[in-house]
Amino acid sequence: MSYAYLFKYIIIGDTGVGKSCLLLQFTDKRFQPVHDLTIGVEFGARMITIDGKQIKLQIWDTAGQEAFRSITRSYYRGAAGALLVYDITRRDTFNHLTTWLEDARQHSNSNMVIMLIGNKSDLESRREVKKEEGEAFAREHGLIFMETSAKTAANVEEAFINTAKEIYEKIQEGVFDINNEANGIKIGPQHSPTNTSLPLSGSGSSQGGGCC
């Protein structure tokens, strides 16, 4: 299926906060309470529409376990967007956000759009982190913020799509150099500005990919 842009996302955060479940809810619209621990990285992809344009999200779901950190870091490179996830029922996952954020900023490009997500909003009775705290952290560090529930699907679509909107706006403003793939953005096969000057078998197919 053709698309105007492809955005690479990463999902990061402590182990057990629901990163893989958020991805599964977004790509497959289902919730799986028991899930294999992510080791290394897993993938998901979905097509969305922004401003009438088809945009393919290629999402890299990384392992949260600290023992795997030094390898998962290398996946941050070339991401246009990041979902930084904590669990509203576990304060320590919120306390670790600063480390995650430093890590992400250090190993990715400076324009990367970061969405802070407080997941498991369905577990209101077990809440340990107030919504206001999440908002304050986001404000302080220049992030977008949302509370989601991968279980009930509340705000899951919005989290992924709003991040894409922000990236899209940055492209319109010229902040992202879309010809540099290190920014995590690829132009779709038919939308390549250089396409017309190239033979049919040229860069179109390689840029289009067919990944994930």
Partner: protein, 269 residues
């Protein structure tokens, strides 16, 4: 680590005490893979790339061009001893995974029964033991800072052999479909290998044999710059043929079916 523990609970039919002590034994072998520095696992992945370079330089080049020469796609294979690749879906069918594991334990026991030449002097034996304890002793580094490993243990070599067997099976598809970095990672990440169990184990044992007894292992530790550079597919096949042939001619009393290796497993036609 739960990936390593669940099959054990299955073997012991839920007897947690027996499963625990079996788990302790497994972790003696594998705990370095879980070091925070990740030096050990990174070294294994580096060596895997070198192994690909030695046996299939065309594919090695392709991986490099596509930013996949870190071999991170093999990370989970090694960490979980291929458990996820040999399980089908969400079922509790551990049999194939356990067959793979059984082969790993065999290699581990090889450490203990490795025959020593009768003519070896005491000095040589002492030296060998020191070397052994330097590279594969589970107690080494117990209290110190983890150091960068320089040599692979037999189990690690075998895990790389099985990784290479899987890679060789998939390489044609990857080359023909021109997968990019993400697609390569995704492809290797989502393999289900149950149907190919026997073939892969056979190939892995052949590769391991080549590494251990026919000079393959030494090639891993030699400097890359000494290697021939290959430019065409034809060169690649010639070199691959030469490489295997010379290994056969120099091999000692190995009762191994090298004809199988040459005809089907090591050379791409």
């Amino acid at each position: 680590m739960s990936d390593l523990a669940t099959p054990l609970l299955y073997i012991w039919d839920g007897d947690t005490m027996k499963a625990f002590w079996t788990f302790v034994q497994i972790m003696k072998l594998l705990k370095k893979n879980f070091e925070m520095s990740q030096n050990t696992i990174s070294f294994q992945l580096q060596m895997l790339y070198k192994l690909i370079q030695i046996t299939d330089s065309k594919f090695a080049e392709y991986l490099k061009e596509n930013d996949s020469h870190n071999c991170y796609f093999a990370f989970r294979w090694i960490i979980c001893l291929f458990k996820r690749e040999f399980m089908k879906g969400k079922t509790d069918d551990y049999d194939d995974c356990l067959t793979v594991w059984e082969s790993v334990w065999c290699i581990n026991s090889f450490d203990n029964i490795e025959p020593e030449s009768e003519t070896a002097t005491t000095n040589e034996r002492v030296r060998k033991n020191i070397e052994k304890s330097n590279c594969s002793s589970p107690n080494h580094e117990e209290y110190g800072r983890p150091s960068t490993p320089k040599k692979l243990s037999n189990v690690e070599l075998y895990l790389l052999s099985l990784s290479l067997a899987i890679i060789r099976k998939e390489r044609d598809l990857i080359l023909s479909k021109k997968f990019d970095a993400c697609e390569i990672l995704k492809h290797f990440n989502t393999l289900h290998l149950k149907e190919n169990l026997n073939e892969l184990l056979l190939n892995a044992s052949q590769i391991w044999h080549w590494l251990k007894f026919d000079g393959g292992e030494e090639k891993l530790y030699t400097d890359e710059s000494e290697k021939k550079s290959i430019t065409t597919e034809e060169d690649f096949e010639i070199l691959n043929n030469d490489c295997i042939k010379s290994d056969i001619s120099t091999s000692r009393d190995v009762s191994f079916e090298w004809s199988d290796v040459c005809s089907s497993n090591f050379v791409f036609n």
